[in-house]
């Protein structure tokens, strides 16, 4: 209860519009390296997006009749959602398993997850040829219930709502809306349970999307188990992202983080690396089973086979061992290294299934155009901008305003007494 920061006092009586307007203004220095790099790229990206809607998708992408899905789906959507998996894993640990230790990273992880979905769903719209018809499957004009994509799209939508509810207490605290805060906090558990269920289904669903492309995906990456592999790998993909993002936030937003949280951070990282080790072990074992089951030994000694081995050994087995070793040796640097290697491995895996291994035997391969890459970066940078904007204003990393605890205490008189006595 040492919350020194009062983000906004209770706003009763003050004009909410004035408050919002004040909050809109940028904070902090302008000429940071990140701004200098990201601003021109974002403007260039916006220009390219205009061209895309004006001249068609082919004007700025290298997609073809043979390769209908490229970087925007393979990286932005499929890989991005895997990285956003941290939110369902952490909420599971904190709200379902009641592992209180991880409570301090819930908000930032959920915020990250929510923004990721918001922007990747946005990226999906860029990739749709006829985005104005996107309402058809939503308003029930046409329910393609036999489509995996239908399931995934709906789950994206519902999960975003669940995440918004999970995050909403922070918004209420920012706006100083005490009563709303109470109501919204009460909805958290339901949103969490719903969100985890949705996540399990659409994380695996993203893999199931490719089940019908049976002969088109390289046999080392295609199997009927893609959905399970995607689900299991989303656990450590998400957590590695949490570790990575946490390490950066600790520095960049250090003035917002209380000493208590800073101390906790190391122990949280260690806990997460333990879980990653376990999940990666399960994943590696599953991959091994799939390989044995598919009997594709002969393919291992081809260029694609060596590429496969690089992914499995260099970016699954090695980081797994690193994670294992780092939490035993209590080495933070190794944890970060393991997180980065794991993330590279997840990117490789998702791209191998969706882009690199897709029609691998074609004469001409798909390579994304520089414009596709710029648009991807635009999406990424814009997300980081919004993330930073929110972190600088809402109680995400920093402590909640005092009244939150006061409210809690009045809610639970027995508990209040206990604490007073202590």
């Amino acid at each position: 209860m040492n919350s020194g920061h009062l983000i906004s006092a209770d706003n009763d009586g003050k004009s909410i519009w004035k408050f919002l307007f004040r909050q809109m203004k940028p904070k902090g220095r302008w000429l940071t390296p990140f701004n200098i790099i990201s601003i021109p790229i974002i403007f260039l990206g916006i220009g390219l997006i205009v061209i895309r809607f004006w001249k068609g998708i082919g004007a700025i992408t290298n997609l073809s009749q043979d390769v209908p899905w490229g970087l925007w789906i393979g990286f932005d959507v499929v890989t991005g959602v895997a990285f956003a998996g941290g939110a369902y894993v952490i909420t599971f640990m904190v709200y379902i398993l009641n592992m209180k230790k991880y409570h301090s990273i819930v908000r930032v992880t959920v915020l990250n997850g929510f923004l990721a979905y918001l922007f990747y769903a946005g990226a999906l719209l860029l990739d749709l040829g006829r985005p104005w018809n996107v309402i058809n499957p939503i308003i029930g004009n046409n329910f393609g219930v036999s489509s995996v994509l239908f399931l995934v799209a709906w789950h994206f939508l519902l999960y975003m709502i669940a995440q918004l509810i999970e995050f909403s207490p922070a918004i209420a605290e920012w706006l100083g809306a005490r009563r709303a805060h109470k109501i919204l906090s009460g909805m958290t558990l339901a949103a969490v349970i719903f969100g985890i269920t949705l996540s399990m289904l659409h994380q695996s669903g993203l893999g199931a999307l490719f089940l019908m492309a049976k002969e088109k995906i390289h046999p080392l990456w295609y199997s009927e188990f893609i959905p399970i592999l995607f689900l299991v790998s989303s656990i450590f993909a998400g957590l590695s992202m949490v570790i990575f993002e946490g390490s950066i936030s600790q520095r960049v937003f250090s003035e917002q983080i209380s000493d208590k949280h800073r101390e906790e951070h190391h122990s949280i990282m260690h806990g997460l690396s333990k879980i990653c080790t376990g999940a990666m072990f399960a994943y590696f074992f599953l991959q091994l089973l799939v390989l044995v089951h598919g009997k594709h030994w002969d393919l291992l000694n081809t260029p694609m086979g060596r590429w496969y081995l690089l992914e499995m050994i260099g970016f699954v087995l090695v980081p797994m061992v690193l994670y294992f070793y780092s939490y035993r040796a209590n080495n933070v640097f190794l944890i970060r290294l393991a997180a980065i290697l794991t993330m590279v491995g997840v990117i490789l895996n998702r791209l191998n299934v969706t882009v690199i291994g897709f029609k691998w035997d074609m004469a001409v391969h798909y390579v994304p155009s520089w414009m596709e890459i710029v648009v991807t970066l635009t999406v990424l940078f814009t997300e980081i901008w919004i993330f930073r904007w929110v972190i600088n204003r809402l109680p995400v990393l920093r402590e909640s305003p005092k009244w939150v605890n006061e409210d809690k205490l009045t809610d639970k008189p027995a508990l209040a007494k206990k604490i007073q006595r202590a």
């Binding site: 997609l63 043979d66 899905w69 379902i96 058809n136 044995v292």
Partner: protein, 289 residues
């Protein structure tokens, strides 16, 4: 290992089925229904490669006129300007032609992939695309085992192009598809799959030396409405022989069937765990974050 193979999705699938009351996933057409679908039999032994069908198709569907034969080099595929192409193959029995277009699968991967039902299998058999529904996600292209749907990448209002068997414009009114009607060599025959398979068998039976003894499309991808017979093995005339015989939508059914059961079981399980761990904690003093 063989136990693993069936994997937990299958088990879940079974539970899912029983739990999914009222949630009917599109049922596969029975073997009976699929024999009554309309389709076309293409006889590569009769086709002389005049490419008349390409011109008729372009005209009937408002597409640009195809290139004259003398300007064509190598093999072509269908694309966003050509719903059908006729290629020339040098085979073990000399030159053979093969026409390519949508196969109008009995259980089309494209339609099961389509989340807006823009791609849809009509009761009569043709698989059609509906402009007002499609959102241009191109999942149909990813899923079609024959790589048939094509997309207009250079348009702000792009369409998916593929053969529709002239369903809306002709077949519905009882007319023949444009290509069938105009083929001067009777290489194309329109009818129900039952009739076409019978006819194909008859031709193969009567001239066993002329034909390779198989009907392409009878079982491929779960059966297709467009059927082929040919003097040479189908691989030699560029047909996709790596497709599986089972239907493609079946590949995702296990996953889709498991969804309802996950929706019922997971929240209950999660709530149970939550309650269990909560009790555990309430004995310890809470530190209030």
């Amino acid at each position: 290992m063989d136990l693993h193979r069936r994997d937990f999705f299958r088990v879940l699938g079974a539970t899912g089925l029983t739990l999914a009351v009222g949630k009917e996933l599109k049922a596969a057409p029975g073997p009976k229904a699929s024999l009554e679908f309309r389709g076309v039999l293409y006889d590569a032994a009769r086709c002389k490669g005049c490419r008349g069908c390409e011109y008729d198709c372009a005209e009937a569907n408002g597409l640009p006129e195809p290139l004259p034969t003398k300007d064509i080099k190598g093999l072509r595929t269908t694309d966003d300007k050509h719903r059908t192409v006729v290629n020339e193959y040098k085979t073990s029995k000399g030159i053979v032609y093969a026409k390519m277009q949508c196969m109008h699968c009995n259980e089309p991967a494209c339609a099961s992939a389509c989340l807006t039902q823009a791609m849809t299998k009509t009761k009569d058999g043709p698989v059609i695309w509906r402009e007002d529904k499609c959102m241009g996600c191109r999942y149909c292209m990813v899923s079609c085992p024959f790589n048939i749907p094509k997309f207009e990448y250079h348009s702000a209002n792009p369409k998916i192009e593929k053969c529709t068997m002239c369903f809306e414009t002709r077949v519905k009114k009882g007319e023949l598809p444009a290509c069938v009607e105009n083929c001067p060599n009777e290489a194309l025959m329109f009818g129900t799959r039952r009739e076409l398979i019978q006819e194909a068998r008859r031709r193969i039976f009567e001239k066993p030396d002329l034909y390779y003894d198989q009907i392409y499309g009878e079982h491929e991808a779960g059966g297709t409405c467009w059927l082929y017979i040919s003097p040479v093995p189908f691989k030699e005339i560029g047909l996709n022989t790596s497709v599986q015989n089972a239907s493609y939508p079946a590949l995702t059914k296990g996953f889709l069937y498991s969804v309802p059961s996950v929706f019922v079981l997971a929240p209950a399980l999660l709530l149970g765990i939550q309650q269990a761990t909560k009790k555990d904690n309430s004995t310890k003093p809470q530190d209030n974050e």
